[in-house]
């Protein structure tokens, strides 16, 4: 338009905007398209990114990609909130000594790192009043190290039931889950409990949001007797290992001899045994003394005819 003066203006426009929200301190990129005043090109141009008066980064303009746009790899501010940066591009004109310049504001929404939790190896049922341990871990979306930071477990009423510092080594198989073992004590009341693991990291280098996670377990009375379950193949009488036994609230898996022993109080318990490839009838077990139960499991045809039909 105003071509004469525009000799000194470089026009900038976003071809790839910054993400709508960026983790504090995280790396991100933006791409910018440039329109050069007559005869000028990107060679020898420089850029600067400013936060107010403070220079965030500066240097030679990165090489434009095939479509002419220039990508900037940037590191987000460390504090959460709205940030307004200014990207400036400049080029000194060799002959006339005229300087061409352009600027583009960058609006950034910086958020604290999200965290998330896991609780595992929670025994259930737990005998009322008994001590037990669980494992719990915390993870940062940006994989920040959480070693040494406290996690805690609270009951339904918000009362602290246990806490521990996270270890410095991540849980096997995870990218960056820091974890700890927590010692807990089961309530006397017999019921299904839903407790909460919480983590609110403070004084981290970068801001983090806390997280909570619910887990459950059930409490039962002290055992008085045992139920010994033996699972065998109806036809061959061979023991069936690895069958899942569920006796009321109690769970077990049969061993190599097809056996599982479950300590229980007196009472009547439904017994459900499952094993892939077997049909196993359900029954009730009445416990007033130590009990032995033999379960005959009917092996299903190796493949259901309908399955082989489409095999």
């Amino acid at each position: 338009m105003d071509e004469k003066k525009a000799g000194s203006a470089i026009r900038l426009g976003l071809t790839k905007a910054p993400p709508s929200s960026i983790d504090a301190g995280a790396e991100f990129s933006v791409s910018v398209g440039l329109e050069w005043p007559g005869g000028m090109g990107p060679d020898g141009a420089t850029y600067r990114i400013l936060d107010g008066k403070k220079t965030i980064t500066s240097g030679a303009l990165p090489k434009p990609s095939e479509d002419g746009s220039v990508a900037f790899a940037l590191t987000a501010p460390a504090s959460a909130g709205e940030h307004r940066w200014l990207l400036t591009v400049a080029k000194d004109e060799n002959d006339a000594g005229k300087r061409a310049e352009g600027a583009l504001p960058l609006a950034l929404t910086i958020v604290p790192h999200a965290t998330s939790l896991a609780v595992w190896d929670v025994p259930s049922p737990v005998v009322r009043g008994a001590k037990f341990v669980v494992k719990a871990g915390a993870k940062c979306t940006a994989s920040c190290g959480f070693g040494g930071r406290e996690i805690e477990i609270r009951d339904e009423a918000g009362e602290l039931m246990g806490s521990a510092p996270l270890g410095t080594i991540t849980w096997e198989g995870t990218a960056s889950l820091y974890w700890a073992t927590l010692q807990l004590k089961a309530p006397r009341k017999q019921e299904l409990h839903a407790w909460t693991l919480s983590f609110s990291p403070s004084e981290t280098d970068l801001p983090h949001e806390g997280a909570t996670s619910r887990f459950s377990f059930v409490t039962v009375p002290e055992p008085e007797h045992s139920v010994s379950v033996k699972v065998v193949n109806t036809k061959t009488k061979a023991p069936i290992p690895n069958a899942q036994v569920r006796l009321g609230l109690y769970r077990a898996v049969t061993d190599e001899t097809g056996a599982a022993k479950i300590p229980v109080p007196k009472g009547k318990f439904p017994l459900i045994v499952t094993r892939v490839g077997y049909e196993i009838p359900e029954r009730n077990v009445l416990v007033s003394k130590d009990v032995r139960v033999r379960i005959a499991a009917e092996q299903l045809p190796e493949e259901d005819p309908f399955a082989t039909w489409t095999a």
């Binding site: 259930s124 049922p125 569920r246 769970r251 459900i272 499952t274 309908f306 489409t310």
Partner: protein, 550 residues
């Protein structure tokens, strides 16, 4: 082979000079080309019978027609023969009192076959066209013997299945050359059916032309007159193939054609994959081309009768085509396309299933049509009311240990079919497959798992699941594609008992045939009906004799 066949091969060779794309065939004689612009002025190739699709029904028809003196060109769009048949388990459902049954001490008759497959109390039988079932029954024994003559070999043993009240099911033996099995060592016994059939067909002079896709049928008038041939897209461009006695459509059904399959069941939207489409998609091309020249559909109730395995539960999870038996190992020529073998589920109590919204919807240890209906129920996506969206198996590291899975390629496909996370939240954040239209809400997934885990504690599951033994708790966590997969087509074109296609007025379309899964009227799953009606069509096209005169 009799003299007649030998003579016919000689005469056929004189017509079928040159290879697949031989151009410059006979000029079209005397037909009213001016009256109908769709009739080409030149034919590139000519044969008595032009078969579209060199799969199970097409190859059976080719052998039968050639044996009865016809010259045959069979085209296939794929790079190799066999269609779904080459990937099939080779379970043949043939009875009637055949030699195999006699050996196994099974008493049977064509009448019993007819009675079983028209049973009112079996969903795979009650909706079928009994005229077709009668022909099927009458051709059972002969087809058993005929396949032996084509070089097909059978395993011993026999099973009873589907609507049959006596054992009638037995298997072909897997083809002995692994590189010709497509997915070797995985019970792809159907290779032992289609390879011998293709060899037999070629020995009888049938020209099997690969990489050539039919694009339309050519009829004298758009909705009347004879079918004269086809237009196909070959490696060197379009070609017109003239059929002196008939065109036979053996394109294998419509299951991969989302629009056509939704004609029968609107729930079957795009997210449902099809077993075998990595090798040969069921395009619906035959049905559509025939409908374009006036054909009608038949016995459409069969497609939705909720019998058999038109839809199946995915047993190999974490890959795109996780059918219940089909596995592509890394040495399969199809592996680059299939990309993963899948994790084979031994025990479904090791997983829960959630929809794209992160919610459970059914007892995961069950299967069958109530389960499928729940899978396809509305997920709550306001932009997608039909279909249920993706179904993800969610499990933890403890399940991986119990199942002895390896959660890495080549078992899982990391390009949108399998995801991992250190926590359930991270897992939900990571799920982004091609059909995952909305982001899964991590809080919903966390709540779903917490609820399920509480059910393990209490022994009460919101979906009535009985097997409640393992929580989902130990990191890391996984999501594997486990959306039900479609398997076969059970409704298609209307034909009479000679496999001649019938139009919307109920009249035969002269010189147009259909067999295999594209043919409607008989809901028996699989190979046997495809072979038999392929033979029926081949015989009728070659001889003009009706099918009942076996």
């Amino acid at each position: 082979m009799g003299k007649l066949e030998k003579n016919s091969i000689v005469s056929r060779r004189s017509v079928l000079s040159g290879g697949a794309a031989a151009v410059g065939g006979a000029a079209l004689s005397g037909l009213a080309t001016e009256a109908n612009a769709q009739v080409p002025t030149r034919w590139d190739r000519t044969a008595d019978l032009v078969i579209v699709g060199a799969g199970v029904s097409g190859l059976s028809a080719a052998c039968e027609a050639a044996e009865h003196g016809a010259s045959v060109i069979a085209i296939d769009m794929n790079f190799d023969i066999g269609g779904h048949g080459i990937m099939s388990g080779g379970q043949l459902h043939l009875g009637g009192g055949n030699a195999h049954q006699k050996l196994e001490g099974v008493t049977d008759s064509p009448d019993s076959v007819f009675k079983d497959w028209t049973r009112h109390d079996h969903r795979a039988a009650r909706y079928s066209d009994r005229d077709l079932v009668r022909i099927f029954a009458d051709w059972n024994v002969d087809t058993y013997d005929w396949l032996l003559k084509q070089g097909v070999k059978y395993e011993t043993g026999m099973q009873q299945s589907a609507a049959s009240t006596v054992p009638r099911q037995f298997r072909t033996i897997e083809w002995h050359i692994p590189s010709e099995v497509i997915s070797p060592r995985r019970n792809r016994n159907g290779s032992g059916l289609v390879r011998p059939l293709a060899n037999s067909a070629r020995a009888k002079g049938v020209d099997i032309v690969l990489n050539t896709k039919m694009t339309k049928l050519i009829r004298e008038q758009p909705l009347s007159g004879r079918v004269l041939g086809i237009t196909a897209q070959g490696p060197n461009g379009p070609i017109n193939i003239q059929a002196r006695k008939g065109v036979l459509l053996c394109t294998g059904g419509h299951t991969d054609n989302v629009n056509l399959r939704r004609t029968f069941d609107p729930r079957l939207t795009e997210e449902y994959q099809v077993a075998c489409s990595a090798y040969s998609p069921q395009s619906g091309d035959g049905e559509i081309a025939a409908m374009d020249v006036g054909a009608s559909l038949w016995a459409t109730a069969n497609q939705t009768a909720e019998a058999g395995t038109a839809i199946t539960k995915t047993r190999h999870i974490g890959c795109q085509w996780g059918y219940n038996s089909l596995v592509y190992e890394p040495d399969s020529p199809l592996f680059p396309k299939a990309r993963a073998m899948g994790l084979t589920v031994e025990d479904f109590q090791n997983i829960i299933m959630v929809k794209e919204n992160g919610l459970r919807f059914f007892d995961e240890t069950r299967s069958g049509y109530d389960f499928f209906a729940a899978c396809m129920s509305w997920s709550g996506d306001p932009q997608k009311l039909n279909g249920g969206g993706p179904i993800w198996a969610i499990f933890d590291q403890a399940a991986v240990t119990r199942e002895r899975w390896k959660t890495e390629p080549p078992y899982v496909d990391l390009s949108g079919w399998f995801f991992k996370g250190d926590t359930l939240k991270e897992l939900a954040d990571n799920i982004a497959g091609p059909y995952q239209r909305r982001k899964m809400n991590p809080a919903v997934l966390e709540e779903t798992v917490a609820k399920f885990n509480a059910g393990i504690d209490s022994g009460k599951d919101e979906f009535g699941r009985k097997a409640l033994n393992f929580k989902i708790a130990q990191p890391p966590f996984f999501a594997a594609w486990t959306t039900p997969i479609l398997h076969d087509t059970l409704a298609g074109l209307h034909t009479n008992t000679n496999a001649q296609v019938v139009d919307r007025k109920g009249e035969v379309i002269p010189a147009l045939y259909c067999a295999g899964e594209s043919m409607g009227g008989f809901a028996q799953h699989g190979l046997a009906r495809c072979i038999i009606f392929g033979r029926v069509a081949g015989r009728h096209a070659a001889t003009g004799r009706v099918a009942s005169a076996l």
